[in-house]
Amino acid sequence: MKARVTVTLKSGILDPQGKAIEGALKSLGVDGVASVRQGKVFDIELAATDKAKAEAALKAAADKLLANTVIENYRVEVLS
């Protein structure tokens, strides 16, 4: 079973890397970029075949390690 955990900074948290990327996109002439926030994507393969169990395992992974919930939010998706 394939899954994806997406970790993003909470709104209001300063993201200097996102700001730098935003500046670079503007200097490249990419039009219409209002703002950029950088995050992380984890593609995870699971042995489980039960969707509910898989989601519980992914949530545990995100809470325990993948995200720092002081500053980050995460989203869990079971893809197939």
């Binding site: 948290i13 200097p16 390690l65 720092n68 002081v70």
Partner: protein, 233 residues
Amino acid sequence: MKSAVLVFPGINRERDMARALKLASGNETSMVWHAETALPKGTDLVVVPGGFSYGDYLRCGAIAARAPVMDAVRDFAASGGLVLGVCNGFQILCESGLLPGVLMRNAGLKFVCRDVHMRVERSDTPFTRGYNAGQVIRVPVAHGEGNYEADEETLKRLEGDGRVLYRYCSADGVVDEASNFNGAAHSIAGIVNERGNVLGMMPHPENHVEEIMGCTDGRGLFAGLVQQFEKAA
């Protein structure tokens, strides 16, 4: 004073720390591998040194914070033992939940490696008793993620309880924007936990302890810790 320095893969300041501890206390320091599940018997002080544990993968200190030895450190701290985390050690203590908040990317995005000044905010703690309140000391920093952030309520509590022990300042002790080189909230360089027995700080006092280093301002921190245990004994 019997101290134990934790060793994680990718840490690189552990020997500097052990040397500074020996200089101050006269005792050899135990080096404790991250996979250990217990601290040496009779440990007075646990130090989480600086470096780049696990190559800073995922988030600085995130993986080290989940190492087996950290459960022993949590128990040690819960029983009142003194814990000092420097640089990556501060990041590890925040990630492990022993200290509140988080160390974000420096506001200027650059890795900063130079001497800075910090003001000792109070002298009545085990981690600052070697200094006078208001004293300005010069210490080296070397980090890319030292921008301390926490939510408003946490910051208010840290300030209200006098838990900010060290703050970045100018050479004459003024806390201002120009001296806050990494953008830390309230110019925070070092904080303690609620109980006051766990300190995390970004600068490296262990690198300013001998004449040959060009400055000995870091000695006070270690001398104060040693005094603390002499007094207790």
